[in-house]
Amino acid sequence: MTGRAGEAGAVAFEGLTLGYDRHPAVHHLDGTIPRGDLLALVGPNGAGKSTLLKGIVGEIGCLDGRIERDRGAIAYLPQADEIDRSFPLSVLDLASMGLWRRLGPWASLKRQRETVLAALAAVGLTGFEDRAIGTLSGGQFQRALFARLILQDAAVLLLDEPFTGVDARTTDDLVRLIRGWHGQGRTIVAALHDLSQVRAHFPTTLLLAREPVAWGPTAAVLTPLNLARATRLSEAWDENAAICARDHAGHGPAHPQGGHEHVHDEHAHHGHAHHDHADHLHPAGPEIREHGHGRHRHRSAS
């Protein structure tokens, strides 16, 4: 189940469990996304694709395990953005937000106008710079967000279903853009549903169904057998699910049934034990979140 562990990774997972209200949405994921990878994240609805991306970017805390990532910028295109489209803002201003890391709160945007216009031209939005964001169609808006991604100039890009509700021509344009980023050596992770698109453009794939099903070269991952397994893995949210007592490094086998309280205690400590154990394995990368028992937000998994 491991991605290519050991290589220089842009993002590495160690026994990672992410979820909501103690229910895991991504369960015990291990592996490393190498730098420069173009990785497709595939799986049925509720498989934890969005959750994994949110975890990498730091939007939700880990229930268990950890994520290691390179220092530096991560650009994130969420599936359901929190953008207030009724806010009176021009397309130029929206795209210019991508320059935040370079300009900060005070540096003038005037001198960057050409850069921003070039980014808008690259996504086919020439002439839209003074339009209010509320007047754009869904596809045009997605293009504007890609212009912002261009300007962010990040080494790692996380795209959550970037082509949902986007027409074929726009999709082609945006895929070309993504391939261009790949050519520049950036690391890209995209959650996708269109398998033919994944096969055509993405060299590696992680098939996720809460549990990681397969991770590797796309052709080897997207086999009928694996896809059937992914579909079979339950996406149900069991309100009375038992506490996970899966064996972890340095721990004995699961406790016998009937000792729930006890198992829970064991589980709560085991995050600490795991950290102690893992600290010397990856001394370089910053740990972005401690285990977050009981402090994660109530949001529905998507």
Binding site: E59, E82, D84, F87, P88, D93, L94, M97, P105, W106
Partner: protein
Amino acid sequence: MIDLVTAPVLGPFVEFGFMRRALAGCLALSVSAPPIGVFLMLRRMSLMSEAMSHAILPGAAAGFLVAGLSLPAMTLGGLAAGLAVALLAGLVTRSTMLKEDASLAAFYLISLAAGVLLVSLRGSQIDLLHILFGTVLALDDPALLLLGGIATVTLLALAVLYRPLVMECVDPLFLRTVSRAGGPVHLAFLGLVVMNLVGGFQALGTLLAVGLMLLPAITARFWASDLTGLIPVSMLVAVLASVIGLSLSYNADLPTGPAIVLAAGGLYLASMLVGPRGGLVYRLVRPRHLEA
């Protein structure tokens, strides 16, 4: 002819020092509160300022109980209570599943009840009215300095925070992924709201402090479409409302705070009818549609 119009409007300001002071105080408030109101409106937090204006009450009342009708005591008390409620609500929002409006409602109700309790412990009905309706015609030097100081700090802070504040309004998730500025900027903005409400409570009273913050901002929506237009238009509306309200209150012997807010309300209703951005009159005529 001109004299007939200008004399009643400008006369009282020429003639009486207290009217000039009231005008100066209201003008200071007119350049600081409306831009805050514009951001509140665009974030759909308009009613939040109403809640905050109630949250200020116990602090002001506590100041009043300790030091009587003392401006510094009541201002400090109001600031402390308002900031405490804003901070607590923000903290609860970020650490529980409650949304900001719910946690704010809880804290402001607690605060308001405590305030009413404090006022009724000592002091008569007249004192309560005084706190609620302000003292715009009795602004002394410290009060004017306070209003001027608040306006200065507000405008400087908005200039410094402008870009992250706009980003926090439009796309908070994006700001979170590129910077940690979101939380502090939001809190600083809430601080500005509280500060301007305390300033407004000096001039207009807590009950109507929100009026000069929100009505000009909402009115500006009918005249301008983006921030570079909304902010100056809202300031202009507030200045007009202050002048009209003050001279109305002098000429017709009306209470000043309500007169100013009603003047702003009148400007709002007029703008709603004839404002070029979505005014009702423009909806009646249907212009020919364009080629593309």
